[in-house]
């Protein structure tokens, strides 16, 4: 399955990420596919190696999907890693994509979860339905 996105689709993805995640206080929001390709990155990733983050996130998701299978689940819809200052939230977008949100300690996890759910619903049709 190859993915081709027009400029218009990319612009739509960018505005959704900016509107719902960056304005809610997230430092960074990335959309990647499950084979590790970086599709869009927003926010201030100047010091962040976003290409490596995309590859490692896809692998992380794949590895936890195997853990899910061991306990009788297909996969996990979201993952959350908590750091001292920075947190990272991963959520599944359709079957083929992952939304990664980085946010600091003064942003609530609940807000991020709520907004990523909304972003996911908006992104699926842009990415061509249930890919």
């Amino acid at each position: 399955m190859d993915l081709v996105l027009s400029k218009e689709s990319i612009d739509n993805i960018i505005s959704v990420l900016d509107e719902d995640l960056l304005r809610a206080g997230a430092d960074c929001a990335l959309l990647v596919d499950r084979s590790g390709n970086l599709i869009v990155n927003r926010g201030d990733p100047a010091t962040l190696d976003v290409v490596a983050l995309a590859a490692l996130s896809a692998a992380n998701f794949g590895a936890t999907a195997e853990i899910a299978k061991l306990i009788g689940e297909d996969d996990f819809a979201l993952l959350f890693h908590k750091g001292k200052n920075e947190n990272i939230h991963f959520s599944k977008v359709g079957k083929g994509f992952i939304l990664i949100t980085l946010f600091g300690k003064d942003v609530s996890l609940g807000l991020i979860r709520l907004n990523t759910a909304r972003v996911t619903d908006t992104l699926i049709p842009i990415l061509g339905g249930e890919q």
Binding site: L3, D33, S35, G36, V51, A52, A59, A63
Partner: protein, 203 residues
Amino acid sequence: MSFIDLSKNEVQCKIVYYGPGRGGKTTNLLYLHQALTDSVRGKMVTIDTKGDRTLFFDFLPLALGQIQGLSIKIQLYTVPGQVMYNATRKLVLKGVDGIVFVADSLKVQKEKNVESLENLRQNLAEDNIDIKEIPLVLQYNKRDLGGSNIPILSVEELQEDLNKELQVSSFSGSALKGDGVFETLREISKGTVKYVSRKLLSR
């Protein structure tokens, strides 16, 4: 799965280095990482594990310049070669656009090479990919041991074992010294970009 971003005119493809354990897949990537300039290569990621085996994967992104106005970004991955890590191999193979099979020239690895190639064929088939359709290049690694007292397979034997049916391009190499590393990369990149663009045109 390749990804084409028309807002940046950019193509991203995934190439996986496959082969038996301790055959030199990671060494290929390390050599490329050392030999290429910063403008071409990104940061190499190796998941830290004890010992010299790859337990998950290594990752090296490259920017290969432009073809017909499209900039080509290639992501190189290696898989763990040991038989028991098949689940990880399947995970890394997900969305692959091209494969380099790094065969070990050591005589004692003769069967391991054949087993690993068969494993690749099966794992691809599970993802509905025919090994004869996807771009594939063979690299016969460790040729520099030729003059030593360690018994190695001849290129003819390797061809007979691995390439008789596939009939794909093959290169003699020494990943440690860098021989054949760029030739292999050049061939697989060319094949992969062609394969991805053909798929796109037929959409």
